[in-house]
Symmetry: C2
Subunit: 341 residues, 2 copies
């Protein structure tokens, strides 16, 4: 079975010979070859430099044995064209955070094909490079709530107190911002699929900050709208919620084809409860790649077994690969999956 076929069939819950494997943040600082490309440019420059972005996107195939390529880009790539200045220091910092309805009103919903053409050029080149090897290409976007979290708070935060205060005291501002970001996200993901992305993943890094009740009120409707509007694209949609072990039922109810679990979530429980209607992705703790090879093999076998009641399983981490991850651990991880019968 070819890697593209294996991944897409797994997303749709069709039978495959074994789970496919890739890693979130597989193109990253843990790889010396990535650091080499990155050393002369800033992170933002790397995102906009088509040649370098293509190079680092492709590195994980041969260097660590990943079976899918994900576009190298940042979740904030489409944000400046909305009229929101930001910088990395090293985390994202907004020049003027969103604090009023007027601030939201000033935001544009750009046509991403015009505002960030380099993204689609990177995708077209990657798809071209990968075609002969039948390696699938994934596109991605940050989910509206996660983008809104940074845009309101002004930067990353432990508690996102400003965001949550707005949610409780001026919910109409947050609602308006989410609506604009949802428009933008649908446009951006659709354009990625048009350019050649075969599967797309929505990253909701901060949705797990909310209680199950607030998640159902604020997050689930946004995911459902995106899933609904992306359906005609035919490309499978993967939904990742960081720290979302408490909202797996809601993730499964989003309309996404695949839900990508944090390592805190029980894969076995998710497979039994929701595996008939959605495929599952994940969910090894990225820090576990520091374990000895035999232990990694054992963890992979155990995860595959836990996921077996599900209609499909894509092996991955429960979060992005950490900068200090030993390369041999990543190789042991992908090799263990390829060795499965």
């Amino acid at each position: 079975m070819k890697p593209d076929e294996r991944l897409i069939r797994s997303c749709r819950g069709e039978s495959v010979d074994r789970p496919p494997v890739w890693l979130m943040r597989q193109a990253g600082r843990y790889l010396p070859e990535y650091r080499e490309v990155r050393k002369d440019v800033s992170f933002l420059e790397l995102c906009r430099d088509v040649e370098r972005a293509v190079t680092v996107s492709l590195q994980p195939i041969d260097l660590v044995g990943s079976e899918a390529v994900i576009l190298f880009q940042d979740i904030f790539t489409p944000i400046p064209a909305m009229g929101m200045e930001l910088d990395f220091a090293p985390g994202p910092v907004m020049a003027s955070p969103i604090r009023s309805m007027a601030d939201v009103g000033k935001l544009r919903v750009p046509e991403s094909r015009e505002s960030v053409p380099f993204v689609f050029e990177i995708i077209r080149i990657l798809r071209d490079e990968l075609a002969s090897r039948r390696i699938p290409l994934l596109g991605f976007a940050g989910a509206p709530f996660t983008l809104a979290a940074y845009m309101i708070e002004g930067s990353g935060s432990k508690d996102f107190g400003v965001l949550k205060r707005m949610l409780h005291r001026e919910p109409e501002i947050l609602r308006a911002l989410l609506a604009k970001l949802t428009e933008m996200t649908v446009n951006y993901l659709s354009a990625q699929i048009e350019a050649g992305a075969q599967v797309v993943q929505l990253f909701d890094t901060w949705a797990g900050l909310l209680s199950p009740q607030l998640y159902r009120e604020w997050i689930l409707p946004v995911h459902r709208e995106i899933a609904e509007r992306m359906r005609e694209s035919q490309a499978p949609l993967i939904l990742y919620v960081n720290n979302g072990a408490h909202v797996v039922a809601e993730m499964a109810d989003s309309g996404a084809d695949v839900i990508s679990l944090d390592w805190r979530a029980s894969m076995g429980e998710a497979a039994q409860k929701f595996g008939q209607s959605v495929s599952l992705q994940g969910n090894l703790d990225p820090a576990a790649l520091a374990a000895p090879e035999e232990e990694i093999q054992e963890m992979v076998r155990s995860l595959v077994k836990e996921a077996s009641p599900a209609r499909g399983h894509i092996m991955n981490l429960g979060h992005g690969c950490l900068p200090g991850t030993p390369v041999e651990g990543v190789r042991a991880f992908t090799a263990a999956v390829r060795a499965l019968k």
Copy 2:
């Protein structure tokens, strides 16, 4: 019903007129009166200054209507006497993190009555002050895994990569460290109860970093040992695990009298599944105290209803009160509980 009776009966699952209420980190920077006491001393000095520590411990009773007092102290208070230097900058920073079995071997298990006598003096004075008002006094300790996390990592961390690498590659070092910290914790909590603490809470801030499987291997046995060894003290034990929505079943199985839930956990589900064998504490999102008063009242009523299948419920937050919390939100929270019939 008197506040001490209400709290202790709630812990034990005996009938009460309504839930008691207090807040984690109720003596903290959100209170102007706390900041006033704190302004001339460092955090460490405040912990060791008996008079000031008593003052800030007592503030939340009259200022925000809390119905229990918790000893003002830091989870690291007993650590320096083990032979481990640390400073706050402002988070805890260890001068020489634990990285080898020899490092663990050098750690002492001090008799806390001798090494941190000021803690017990604070407790004795507080108990004395509170006796006439029948306000209950809680003691507390950081749980061994959380203390070990900082001692190994050397400071706070987003991913605790050094800690997790040790867990996977040199588990015997972590195991030896947890054993020493368990001894220390049992001694420290027992001495607090002897000095006058009527209930004690164990804070496991970082245990939620682990997958359910690793939690069962590394955390649950430690909690069980502490609960078992504290049983003869007769003082109820509350177990708090931050970000532990994925391990509520394991918390309920620890032997603690009360499990204190993160706001991500569903109170209703916990009450139905485990409420017959343990009492529940929590779990409003601290950030929700920024909501309008009527919304806070509604959230309190809703939480109480969700918790109603449980044998006991102590109203609290799902995490410590945030520095930016409006004081009127905290007052609205405690008032809403007192207004319950």
